[in-house]
């Protein structure tokens, strides 16, 4: 197992190198630059413009710039934001915990709803409960997150005044209910689509598992229905769910930008999109690197989760 883990970690290096190379190359050739934005917005300080050009190394071939970037990266230096003149690592350190919190909360919400609804739906197949759950699931997949977010904001934030309309995050020293109250709406909005997806998946896989011989045997032995489902059926139905959650977690990490914008949640999605719009290349490169590391780690954790769930799975 240790050898397997070591191999997986070593394999991360060429993967991450490849990602940084592709992103660097794409950004080097992408139209538009922060300098052109500065000039078009009336920034006339020639020293400031020259400083930006210097920091970006625009007079050097992009491959040389990439080598310098890798050298800095080897020393843990992600560079400096050319828009905000702050270390990229500092900006990411502020934003990243917020995105992780939001993504974990959304996943927990999605799993909680999906396991409950999917299980009930499978057990009470072809009943009103089943149909209701499936209609909600279809709705959850179909409704765009920006619409859902705005509707929840209007209803619970402005209409009922139950929850704040935005803000939040790890910094600022908020604790307890104040912190949670800022997290609820964004987590529900972000997790809704995943909940819908997982509900259908759990229902379908559980239906397959519930028709297996060993389940029939367990029932014949007199085990309570709840115990049959929770101890025998669900565990076997979870493997495809684990895969889906693992893949979707990475997507949630990067795709929270709409939710972060609506709820003013200061996370990585918003940071990255703003950096792209402003052509803040060091921040874009740093953010992509962080996302790539997270995604690779999540895939690794997903693979390790199989071992925990299914004792037949071994890694060598």
């Amino acid at each position: 197992m240790l050898r397997y883990l070591a191999r997986r970690f070593l394999l991360m290096i060429p993967v991450l190198l490849g990602i940084t190379f592709i992103v660097f190359a794409l950004l080097a050739f992408a139209p538009g630059s922060f300098v052109s934005l500065m000039l078009s917005s009336g920034v006339v300080n020639p020293d400031a413009i020259a400083r930006v050009r210097d920091e970006l190394g625009v007079n050097q071939p992009w491959i040389i710039r990439y080598v310098h970037y890798l050298a800095a990266l080897a020393h843990g230096n992600l560079g400096r934001s050319i828009v905000f003149d702050q270390p990229v690592a500092q900006q990411i350190a502020q934003a990243f915990p917020n995105t992780v919190i939001l993504t974990v909360a959304a996943t927990v919400f999605a799993l909680s709803v999906a396991v409950a609804a999917g299980t009930v739906s499978a057990i009470k197949r072809n009943t009103l409960l089943d149909y209701a759950a499936m209609i909600v699931a279809v709705g959850g997949v179909s409704v765009p997150s920006f619409w859902l977010g705005l509707m929840l904001l209007l209803a619970f934030g402005l209409g009922l005044h139950w929850l704040p309309i935005g803000g939040g995050g790890a910094a600022g020293g908020r604790g307890g209910w104040e912190f949670l109250s800022h997290l609820i709406l964004p987590a529900v909005t972000l997790g809704a689509e995943l909940a819908a997806l997982l509900t259908r998946l759990i229902r379908n896989t559980l239906l397959d598992v519930l028709s297996e011989d060993y389940i029939r045997t367990a029932r014949a032995k007199g085990l309570a229905g709840f115990r049959v489902v929770s101890r025998h059926a669900l565990k076997n139905a979870l493997l495809p769910v684990v895969t889906t959650v693992g893949v979707q977690f990475g997507a949630l990490l990067g795709g929270a930008v709409i939710v972060e914008t609506i709820y003013s949640w200061p996370g990585m999605g918003l940071l990255t999109v703003n950096a792209i719009q402003q052509r803040d290349l060091p921040v874009v490169q740093g953010a992509v690197l962080v996302f790539a590391i997270c995604f690779v780690l999540v895939v690794l954790l997903t693979d390790l989760a199989y071992v925990a769930i299914d004792p037949r799975v071994h890694y060598q």
Binding site: P31, G32, S33, F34, S36, L37, M38, L39, S40, S41, G42, V43, V44, N45, P46, D47, A48, R51, V83, F84, D85, Q86, Q91, Q94, L150, L153, L154, G157, L158, I165, G166, G167, G168, G169, A171, G172, T261, I262, Y263, S264, P266, L270, N274, Q277, Q278, R279
Partner: protein
């Protein structure tokens, strides 16, 4: 005397002469009392009220060093609460004294500022412990100007020969050549916030950006980047300050910001995103709109790109479009038709007589195009010349201008001109325009401030802000003279002459000026739309909350 006291002291003869009736004489005697009551009530309503928290929306605040905002409006607005500059731009865009009580220009390259006395830096912070604040002096101004020249990442004062403290309260600044815009340009002296050197020395550059200390009306209480920024009133400020606190609330999405304002979660939206939002908010009885300044929108030509390098083609396009109706449909009443680049609110260079240069005449447009060789030959409805159709894409960025251009493009197509809109990301649009990358016709935009005409049309700015690639020696000569002309009337005349030549050359077809609005809860009084840094307190305005 109030109405109540007047009634208590009413003469005996003021009793009603009959049952249920008040006599004419009694009524007349009541008039002064009633008038007094009305005046007293009105005076009470206008008296600024101390207290409350003013909540302002912002879209991005990562740091609070006033010299390192990169032109970010939210950071400019927030940091300006902590500092004062020597001057600020008043309601009519004229420079007005702030930390400088007055100034003189003994010659066209020298400015002498006399500082206000007994203005103190804030105390009770890591730089000046409680009770140890010190006075702002001329040395602080010298330090600030030098630091601004060194670290400012957006704006500049140009070349400064020297800045020195003549005495404790007098600063002399010299430049190598005349600069009539040094005080009137919102991005020059009005940006030089006066900072104490101790703050930079003790906190470092990054520390100062998180914990700014100045002499302004508000002190920083707490700052979490892109979450909240809270300020407390500075009790020792040299003018009265009414709100107890100012809180900047992070809402990056314009739609959510509008909803938050209407729902009472914030008090002020400093910049309403677009005309549609202005229209929506104007119908809300709980809100008020304030307008000041704005931006210029037009259709620009890259005069190096055929066939737009030909004046008759540009002129024909100008005549081919009914711009008035398009602007009326989309923008009015939150903007107005433009006939030049200089807007009516800029104190010099505005020329309403330019209206005579522009007329809608589609027949004349077609005649002119025919003379230029563009005719309809192959029954496809598109004009062409030597087999090349008159076809182009107008590069534009998102905004109300897309709808205006859609109307205009439809009019052009009806005349056989194959015009289309190509909507782009801002960075790509800016880059394409600066490089002249397939730009024949493009959406022309500038913040309509002081020297915008020169930025857009001076040949020295080709490859930078002159995306028309326009070079006219006569226009350049007028700019050169105007940029160093100390006499305001003469400068305005030179500017108008340059603008007229540019418009006659049809380098740009002016479309409209879109006004800039702030929207606010009606409890906010005396807000002035930010133009250059925000001023909540100034000799002209003093923001307070009525409840």
């Amino acid at each position: 005397m109030t109405a109540r006291s007047a009634w208590q002291h009413r003469p005996a003869g003021a009793q009603a002469p009959g049952r249920g009736r008040i006599g004419r004489r009694a009524l007349l005697r009541m008039v002064p009392a009633v008038a007094g009551a009305l005046v007293a009530t009105r005076a009470f309503a206008q008296t600024p009220r101390r207290g409350g928290t003013l909540r302002i929306q912002f879209s991005a605040i990562r740091q609070l060093d006033p010299y390192k905002t990169s032109g970010n409006n939210s950071e400019d607005n927030a940091s300006s609460l902590v500092f004062d500059a020597l001057v600020y731009l008043g309601r009519n865009f004229e420079p007005r004294p702030l930390l400088a009580e007055r100034w003189e220009t003994p010659n066209s390259t020298t400015w002498v500022f006399r500082l206000r006395r007994n203005v103190m830096f804030q105390d009770d912070n890591p730089v000046f412990p409680k009770g140890s604040a010190r006075e702002v002096t001329a040395e602080d101004v010298v330090y600030s100007v030098n630091r601004f020249l060194k670290v400012s990442n957006a704006f500049t004062l140009g070349t400064v020969d020297s800045v020195r403290a003549v005495d404790r309260y007098t600063v002399e600044l010299k430049k190598p050549s005349p600069d009539p815009f040094l005080l009137s340009d919102p991005n020059r002296m009005a940006r030089v916030m006066i900072v104490p050197h101790e703050a930079i020395e003790k906190l470092g550059e990054d520390g100062f950006a998180r914990q700014p200390v100045g002499s302004g009306p508000f002190k920083l209480r707490s700052f979490t980047a892109n979450q909240t920024v809270v300020f407390d009133r500075n009790p020792s400020y040299w003018m009265p300050v009414y709100p107890d606190h100012v809180e900047f609330t992070y809402i990056p999405d314009p739609t959510v910001a509008t909803i938050a304002l209407q729902g009472g979660r914030i008090d002020v939206l400093p910049y309403v995103a677009n005309v549609d939002a202005v229209r929506q908010l104007s119908g809300d009885p709980n809100l008020r709109l304030a307008s000041r300044g704005g931006s210029f929108r037009g259709l620009g030509f890259n005069v190096k790109t055929p066939p737009f390098n030909e004046l008759p083609v540009r002129d024909a396009l100008a005549k081919a479009m009914d711009i008035d109706s398009a602007v009326r449909s989309v923008i009015a009443p939150y903007g107005e038709r433009a006939y030049g680049q200089v807007p009516p609110w800029v104190p010099f260079g505005y020329d309403p007589s330019l209206k005579a240069l522009w007329r809608y005449d589609p027949h004349a447009a077609l005649d002119e195009l025919a003379k230029a060789g563009f005719t309809e030959k192959n029954r496809d409805g598109i004009l062409e010349r030597n087999g090349t159709p008159l076809s182009f894409k107008i590069k534009v960025i998102a905004g109300a201008q897309v709808r205006v251009l859609t109307i205009l493009v439809t009019q052009l197509r009806q005349m056989g001109i194959d015009a289309q809109i190509q909507q782009q990301d801002v960075a790509v649009w800016a880059s394409d325009l600066i490089k002249g990358n397939e730009t024949g016709v493009f959406f022309d935009f500038s913040y309509a401030g002081t020297t915008g005409l020169y930025e857009l049309f001076g040949s020295a700015n080709i490859g930078k802000s002159n995306t028309h690639f326009y070079a006219n020696p006569k226009v350049d000569a007028l700019f050169t003279a105007a940029l160093v002309e100390p006499d305001a009337a003469r400068r305005s005349s030179l500017w108008k002459q340059a603008q007229r030549l540019i418009m006659e050359d049809r380098v740009v077809i002016p479309l409209y000026f879109e006004r800039q609005y702030s929207a606010m809860n009606k409890r906010v009084v005396d807000w002035v739309v930010p133009w250059a840094p925000l001023r909540l307190e100034s000799p002209e305005n003093n923001v307070y909350l009525t409840s």
